[in-house]
Amino acid sequence: MLDQIVFYFFAVLAVISAVMVVTRRNVVQSAIFLITALLATAGIFLQLHAEFLFIVQVILYAGGIMVLFVFVIMLVSLDVSLNQVQFNRQWWLGLLLALVLGAQLTIAVAVGRAGLPLGEPAPAKMLEPSTQLVGRVLFSEYVLPFEIASILLLVAMIGAVVMAKKKI
């Protein structure tokens, strides 16, 4: 019962704040709602017994990446963009296509969910110490992707420095 309350609370919170992200005029408010959506997702991770991912989500996503966003928003001036038209000229076409995509996905899940083994997830015991398990899998089976990810981060860091520098 508690499980359900937690899940639906965070799910509704995530969806509402996601809608706010794309509809707010003020970019900082968008960012705050995005942070809320990310934290709600983190709550869902916790409800799924993914403790480590919950922490990664909060530290890296909500506490790291979003701070970058807020930082950049504060750097670039806002007053001009508040009075501009917020949606582009083809917004109705884009909205239509996006809704079609959403409908397709909904139908796909609705049809396919009969094939999902209903209500019998793996025993919770197996996922209990998920921090250690994630570490072991990450550094044994997925070492190569891990190293590639670190190179990706290095490239991104150099790229960001080069982009944002006034003169190279």
Partner: protein, 100 residues
Amino acid sequence: MIPTSHYLFLSLGLFTIGVIGVVTRRNVIVILMSIELMLNAVNINLVAFSRLVGSVEGHVFAIFIITDAAAEAAVGLGIIIAFFRNRETLLGDEMDLLKW
């Protein structure tokens, strides 16, 4: 007991909202944030399936996706700052330097 399909519905809802944000908004920062929303929706899917199957590989992939999101945000925001310095605008449809 929450059926896995509910996680999928939540995830596709967030994904669709993200797509709507990307295709309709003009502000580049909001577009970037909508992309983050889409990546996040995918993570919910991965973790839910990981719970269903009973392995932590979904978590590992979600961590990779978060890494990717960090890289993407850093480069994207770097581009935005560089562009704002040159053109004084944040609107996506005014970024038409390559459209001669």
